[in-house]
Symmetry: C2
Subunit: 186 residues, 2 copies
């Protein structure tokens, strides 16, 4: 069995985590890997209904995602999390629980996010209409030693995708294009 791993995206709302996660998932499936995306919303519906956005509830939600990633990872699946996951301590807890863990920090400034503001959430948050909004009225702790950093403000989506795939190939997490899908990690 190919060794699974967890690809853990973290970053502010709107930074591009889900979009990148979907592109990576597609690329990895094309290489014959089993991939499962756990995004914030789907998980909140299926695992965390009733939880809010207090620190405690966010931590619980992120730990639950981590638990499911652990089960998938140890069964040979590439588990991709695309939740904001604002607190470093809980991301590090998951890293330690899961073991096979690659953290991707999707960087983007609040200024750029407010300018994009696809869903209008930043305007509302800045106007005080949404509470507990990460990066505005709630903390976001950037990772100190992520395996991969992409910058969605200065990098194009294809470039960010390439940076992630290059890292995963180079470190032996995924087979190179053209390599046999059955080859083994490390």
């Amino acid at each position: 069995m190919r060794k699974g791993f967890t690809l853990w995206f973290t970053g502010l709302s709107g930074a591009g985590k889900s979009t990148l996660a979907n592109h990576v998932a597609k690329a990895l499936r094309e290489r014959g890997l089993n991939v499962e995306i756990l995004d914030g919303d789907e998980v909140r519906t299926n695992l965390s209904k009733g939880l809010g956005f207090s620190k405690e509830d966010r931590d619980t939600n992120i730990k639950r995602i981590g638990y499911v990633c652990k089960l998938l990872t140890r069964n040979g699946v590439v588990a991709i999390s695309a939740a904001i996951s604002p607190y470093k301590e809980i991301r590090d807890y998951n890293r330690q629980q899961i073991g096979q863990f690659v953290e991707v920090y999707v960087q983007c400034s609040i200024a750029a996010l407010t300018k994009r503001d696809v869903k209008g959430l930043y305007q509302k948050a800045l106007a005080g209409e949404i509470q507990h909004f990460t990066g505005v009225s709630d903390p976001y702790e950037p990772p100190t030693h992520p395996e991969i950093v992409v910058d969605s403000e200065r990098q194009s989506e294809p470039d960010s995708l390439k940076a992630i795939l290059d890292y995963l190939e180079r470190e032996g997490w995924i087979p190179a294009v053209g390599a046999k899908a059955a080859c083994c990690h490390h």
Copy 2:
């Protein structure tokens, strides 16, 4: 990739679900399959902390187990649930969500369970000291069309294990002993 499936045990507390689940898991791993057991207690810690034993909370808990089983199953894993799962409607919901679903009813009478009563729970429940105790003060709805029925009152553990493995082999869910682990389902 071998096709995953969910082996869903249901039955009263103490009927022998977890023990059987562990035996089945061991046998399937020996045949080269990826197996993950979701038992009631572990899931309550990792996915459902804070939930109680009302019908609504039980349903939420069992749906969460079902969701994780679905993710594992569609990635080629044999997911085994060993929670009481007292309500037919929710088991059937999970069956429908998961698709590849084999239900095992572990039968045992309250009389026999009270006689065994390894943890002393039935005595307490019958004395009214534990509320919402399935089969005593809370409903248990037996499955109407389970794929497998084992009777832990009249059958030995090895016989029950054999009945389950025989069914899974016969229906092509698992390779026969001696068959190549890589052979495919159906």
